[in-house]
Subunit: 142 residues, 2 copies
DNA sequence: TTGCAAATGAGAACTATTATCATTTGCTAT
DNA sequence: ATAGCAAATGATAATAGTTCTCATTTGCAA
């Protein structure tokens, strides 16, 4: 009689295996919100979980397709994933330290819809990344 | 007494070699505005110009650094370049045919500045890509 | 428990891009 | 024009990120 939490595996049509459980836990309970496949792989190894890198890639893609995770392609060539909590947002990426900050702006969102509609397009999705330098103390590195 | 056109090679501190001239011509005179390294390479081969792929990659990066070209990272993993004509714009990418349409929206641009400033960031640059289906006849393929 | 389709993991393969380095080429100064 | 030479090129090796292959393992239903 375990109540099926939203975002759990079977719920998403995926059978619950050790690697999948570990990876989902990492996103749900871990401290890092945005992680690449390599990030996930290293965290799992560090936790003593012995998963293969291929499985990490496979599972991340499955989770994305199942709507559990969202994928982003920031500059730098590697995909970054985060828990999909239903609320769309965009990102500011700090050029000094790589810190990622999230934001949502209704005005930007609606302008995009309008622009696309005017040109005869139905928006499927979009990505907006602001690359910036932080102007105060917050940056950990330099 | 050749008047140095803006955006010409020497003008950008690059000595004018055959590959560089051909590549720049392709962007200035060709019909495709947004091209990947592979696109450029194939066009040149088709024109009978015998350049190496490594040179294409090198030159595209140099042109980007010199401000002659702009690089975009659309979905699909490959960098796409276009002539830098000074005016920033963002892109709608058609999910059916890959057609790329350009737009500029002052409201979106200024909201970005404001959002970043509020959070203590100085915008360096940004990328905004809208992925959409075109809702009318325009799509060449399907 | 057993049976077996589904999932995994090690490693090969692939794609986009960069690095290496011997050879060629575009200037510059004769 | 010509020689000298640093800069540029191109073939190819190397790298990074990711996907594919396939023999072995595992979750789960009967
Ligand atoms: Mn996010
Ligand atoms: Mn453009
Ligand atoms: Zn958005
Ligand atoms: Zn913009």
């Amino acid at each position: 009689m375990d109540k099926p939490q939203p975002g759990h595996l079977k719920n998403a049509g995926l059978k619950s295996t050790v690697p999948r459980i570990r990876i989902l836990e990492l996103f749900e309970l871990g401290q890092e919100r945005h992680m690449s496949a390599e990030d996930v792989y290293k965290h799992l190894l560090a936790s003593g979980d012995d998963v293969g890198l291929a499985t990490v890639y496979r599972v991340l893609t499955q989770f994305e397709q199942a709507g559990l995770l969202t994928r982003h392609n920031f500059e730098g060539g590697k995909s970054v994933f985060e828990l999909n909590q239903g609320k769309h947002h965009d990102h500011i990426v700090c050029l000094q330290c790589g810190h990622v900050e999230e934001f949502y702006d209704a005005a930007i969102e609606s302008r995009q819809e309008k622009i696309a509609a005017e040109r005869g397009f139905a928006v499927h999705d979009h990505s907006l990344h602001i690359y910036a330098d932080c102007t105060k103390k917050k940056c950990p590195y330099k």
